[in-house]
Symmetry: C2
Amino acid sequence: MAPVTNSRLIFNSPPGDGPFEPGKTLVVDNSHSIDVDTVALDGGFLLKILFVAPDPYLRGLMVGPGQPALIDVPPFILGESIIAPSVGVVVRSETGDVKVGDHICGALPAQNYVVKPGLEAGLLVIQNQYNIPLSAYLGVAGLAGMTAWMAWKEFIGTAKKGSTVFVSTAAGAVGSFVVQLAKLDGCKVIASTGSADRVAYIKEFGADVAFNYKEESTDEVLDKEGPLDIYWDNVGTKTLDSALAHAATNARFISCGMISAYDTRDATVKNLLQLIAKSITIYGLNVATLIPKWAAEFFTEVPKLVAEGKVKFKEHRFEGLASFDDAFVGTMNGTINGTKAIIVVGSE
Amino acid sequence: MAPVTNSRLIFNSPPGDGPFEPGKTLVVDNSHSIDVDTVALDGGFLLKILFVAPDPYLRGLMVGPGQPALIDVPPFILGESIIAPSVGVVVRSETGDVKVGDHICGALPAQNYVVKPGLEAGLLVIQNQYNIPLSAYLGVAGLAGMTAWMAWKEFIGTAKKGSTVFVSTAAGAVGSFVVQLAKLDGCKVIASTGSADRVAYIKEFGADVAFNYKEESTDEVLDKEGPLDIYWDNVGTKTLDSALAHAATNARFISCGMISAYDTRDATVKNLLQLIAKSITIYGLNVATLIPKWAAEFFTEVPKLVAEGKVKFKEHRFEGLASFDDAFVGTMNGTINGTKAIIVVGSE
């Protein structure tokens, strides 16, 4: 087979502490080509990328040289492909770790084809015993699902029936799973999201109270529906301040994301005196620290829940690496039509 | 016996969100008198107050009418005695709950004599089986000690040997006990305080690194001595931000007080993104929620540790209710000569 273009989504220009700039921060580079039949594998394997997830945490890795990343993951390198959660299929292999046709998920360079020296830490051969959609391994059965499920198990266990739970950015891939975990435990769930469509989805997923935070005041909703026994925070800043003000005694907060602070790095919160007044615990969630403990149970239980329809998700698919900006911006501001954005990069 | 003056320390003028005003916020009122031999007890008992503790949390109760207290305790009432941690001796009793000569500790009106209808919740007959100083029941064996010991047991358990612990306002009644608990667990302890005298005390109590935060930069000390596995926060705001910036992965923070925010109620913190980056847990500590679980073990173990000299404390005694302002301001800004301020109100 003749060489084909190996498109790459490269980190072109650091937005620094400013906003993510569509068309500038990340660009598609088509200057590389690859011959999939002959490219040297040196004992490794060749992967064709099928799906890429434009997850919000990637914003924290778009920093200038020398600037620290917002999370404990190596930041992106200027001029090189970004590393994002992806699913690929093995097209050639010289290692016993994987065989042709295996599906792999994990953090991979966002490009059409990737040569890997072996099954590195963080890459996983998908055992799809319940035959759920492969893209789910980027959402509810992937990193987003692990984030929701593992933290709920680790920090909440099983919530007391009737507990009041507030989930912000509740229609995202993580939040929408948390809503369903809370409902499975018999909680009352208050959910905020950023569009009317998403309010509808999240009600369909079981939220008792769902609202568009751009149109309704979080404080007013929580005045009426609180106090909160559990708060799942994907937003930080003012939303976290509202939740602190409306917490019940001994409330548990899971700090999963601070999407409102990723552009500016200003995560200012004013109501921390409530921590003491109400003996609130805040669990800062870095899923990397939970994966070793919970991975086996997760991959046993969650794909089954999805296959049985006990846990739902809705995808919005974007076509091609060039659609990454639209998908990413829509994910960040909560306006995409669906709970999980998936970039379709290739097909089998 | 003829009536005697029953001096009261009354809440005279709310400082609101402004600074505590010596001579104005609280004043001694000598207009009341009491005949200790004849005052009606109505089935209750008469207590002579011996010691009062000017604990920092009292600042949170000095709020104007209608304004919420900073902690979950009824705020002070204008014109009435403040309610503060105290030790008293029973001088007459008509209840089987207490007998003459019993020593009582708990939250009591700050005045010379108090009539109580019975042994209310929060009042305790001191069983001083190890014969430690009664005033210790306001410090290391009292509310401050419970705060330190119960939270350490509840949130830390036994710290891993060699863990690095940072304690702010480490020479206070709570902090100086935490320093010693951490050393008993084999930790390296970094301690900040507000005067050279207190740096010396806290070194004597075992701190490996003790510094005067007014003269040395907390960030610079933590750059050198961190990262932190455990942070005991009595300060909030900038000190908490420094600790967040210098936390180790999976660090545990105990939010015990935010002395820097009590006057202004501005507890602004900027570095909360570190919660996620480092999977930090913050435990908001309201000792009232821990007392039911831990009280019996506390009163079995802690007075014994004090009697054996395994836990030390240093008092600074002030004489009379009129000295409350000096004691309180010295406690708040960390300049009193000792780790625990005690107001001597009466003698047996």
